[in-house]
Point group: C4
Chain length 243, copies 4
Amino acid sequence: MNDVTPFISSQAEVVDDLVAANRILVDRGVLDAYGHVSARDPDDHGRYFMSRSMAPALVTADDIIAFDLDSNPVRAGENRLFFERVIHGEIYKARPDVMAVVHNHSRSLIPFANSDTRLRPMVGNAAFLGEGAPVFDIRTVDDDGDLNVCTVPQAQGLARALGQHWVVLLRGHGAVAVGQSVRQCVRHAVIAETNARLQIEATILGPVHFLAESEIAYARRAKPKDPDRAWRLWKASVMGTQA
Amino acid sequence: MNDVTPFISSQAEVVDDLVAANRILVDRGVLDAYGHVSARDPDDHGRYFMSRSMAPALVTADDIIAFDLDSNPVRAGENRLFFERVIHGEIYKARPDVMAVVHNHSRSLIPFANSDTRLRPMVGNAAFLGEGAPVFDIRTVDDDGDLNVCTVPQAQGLARALGQHWVVLLRGHGAVAVGQSVRQCVRHAVIAETNARLQIEATILGPVHFLAESEIAYARRAKPKDPDRAWRLWKASVMGTQA
Amino acid sequence: MNDVTPFISSQAEVVDDLVAANRILVDRGVLDAYGHVSARDPDDHGRYFMSRSMAPALVTADDIIAFDLDSNPVRAGENRLFFERVIHGEIYKARPDVMAVVHNHSRSLIPFANSDTRLRPMVGNAAFLGEGAPVFDIRTVDDDGDLNVCTVPQAQGLARALGQHWVVLLRGHGAVAVGQSVRQCVRHAVIAETNARLQIEATILGPVHFLAESEIAYARRAKPKDPDRAWRLWKASVMGTQA
Amino acid sequence: MNDVTPFISSQAEVVDDLVAANRILVDRGVLDAYGHVSARDPDDHGRYFMSRSMAPALVTADDIIAFDLDSNPVRAGENRLFFERVIHGEIYKARPDVMAVVHNHSRSLIPFANSDTRLRPMVGNAAFLGEGAPVFDIRTVDDDGDLNVCTVPQAQGLARALGQHWVVLLRGHGAVAVGQSVRQCVRHAVIAETNARLQIEATILGPVHFLAESEIAYARRAKPKDPDRAWRLWKASVMGTQA
């Protein structure tokens, strides 16, 4: 009778995870007043969910809006939308395997975004960083001087730089992490930040030994053991629920 | 019937922002037991508001005093005034566009104040740092050995070093940030501190890529998108109000 | 009448310390969602106690399980066990003097695990680090690319790398600390992390002066003065008890 | 009628400051489970006050004991005393101007204690560091390998290394700060730690500019402006009193 997208069954679970993800990412220092996380609609892969433009710490299920992959809101009349939401739509187009996307400015990633030193995996759970996170320079698309990713060509350029990686850094700006689920996306974003800190500190000590190629390859074919334990603990600390 | 400066309409808003600014700047690590933030009177540009000499964390509207631009209190009999209030008066004289000033000693800025390495913008929201924050050396004015900026000639020297910048560092001392509003001034001070931390950590990784000239120039002519979102969130966390 | 191992007298004390150790190690940043600490059964040195597989912050006495030194649970039917529990069993086999073991991924140790710079004692209470903590590279045992220590040969290799040390670092992974009691093991793990941070920061300043050989030798024959004061304070802050 | 030293008038104030100092120094990261702070008896300069051996965070007025300058308790039967209390007695003997002493192991000072890089003043309020804090190496006194300062000759060596300075670093151990009052001693210890952090981070940026000789000389003859503002704020945050 109306055009509200009903959130039922697995959609409801995705939205629940998405709300928790907003708060967890703030609690873990990945998001602050800015940045945004989205999830692809599990029932319609041509849509994604994301909050209206607001501080992530304050997001509730009522703030979640459905978008098509051109990043237009499904329901007419929505306003106060993130300018950079095209990042999400264009990545979902380019990467059918991706079910969640976060754009952030976490503090240990920016030094790598502005350096020729690549962010590389220090430990097994960061093996998803592979041979090193690529860096997207928006000047390869256009050069007007606004570093925000607000146009389709810019977001397409970003998606190309991401390629088959799970994390891409944005020169002078921040990062984008993606995952096959909201939880994996959150894990990628949190671990990328932690790994960056470890790598900066290891660099003080001298040449750094990163994961071997065989270890990176192993992680590509193996699943992590009990990855949701961290999610449950992180969620409990922000949502007041039992871990 | 008395000489109390009435705080009405936009003055009231400025004072409200000024009280919040004191607490936000403590909460963000920009001020500690020392330092001070002021706002030009919106109804009389020849006056400015600042608290009496006290710990910024404890400032309420009752502690706000009006000063003329020679940094004398408008109302006779005020005492317990900041020794360094001339910083504020002389900058308001030299920079008609400036509506707020903060003097602070935040920890990541002092390394740059005592170094030949200039503080330069790492990300878009720090573009206001331009080609790099200038450093004021009080010995260019006099050399008695007290590093505090307590005389008009010292404050004039500081204002000259600031020039058309938004942040100036004080060798062996701290920093001054200015803005076209209290909120912008707070944003400049918080972002300068954050950017300094990013730059220190990036320096560990090797040569740092800063914003390009075109990106700095763009920021000079463009307004930031939704800059008050951070202010609202920061204020909510210190004032117990809704963000 | 049943196969439940009764916790009496000194066993009860060990279990009580083990529960506190889980929480202290989280509070001190040594454990997060992952990692595990165990204690040898004081009444049967062929057994050890450890929680089931769970977040250490949530461990209570009810979660503690008894294992034999082949890391099989003593009571049939136990499930949800740590994959890496062989670390504990094989170290207890190789080191009869060891009464407690912790495996962790604390952030300041990993830079040393991935570096040729050895972790060496900066202060007297870190003298147990001796001439430097050894680094275990799991590729010296096998090379399948999973960095976790899940098989007996891998754990035996780790125990060999530990040798007579109190701390061993695991390349691309984390660390293991051991002690002659739960309390000493906790102290070793906490101090190793603290010492790593001190050493990283000292490295920024230039060549680092570590403890002299005579000072390391002294610590081998002397007992620390009042080491339990830190334990009592740490326990009080996590268990709500009087220090 | 008994040998209890009555705490009256200015003694009462000193003891009150001493209790607050214990808690402030923990809150500021200068003390942890270990370390100790003392104050000379204002009515009898041949005595000093210090807590019994315990965690500084828990000290109350009831825990304060009077010692003579040979570091023997004035009242017979006192036990549980700090092994290193001779540090205090010997410094009070060597420095009649010193009214308070703290021995600590704060984390940013130890890198300088183990380095040839001297701790030097970065900002005006750290001018008391002068040309750089001296480093005491206990091996210049004896070489048994215990780094603790427990004998009179060791403490005399430490007092000689301190000389006319306000801070001395102890190789492989920690630091001692002194002051003309409890509050000044606390300020010296807190600022030394803060200055060390600033200097480490400045070192990452390149050659560091420290205070000029004339600025250090000025601080020797001038009093700091409103130094108690920090004390009042620090005390309020630990004692629940109004700042």
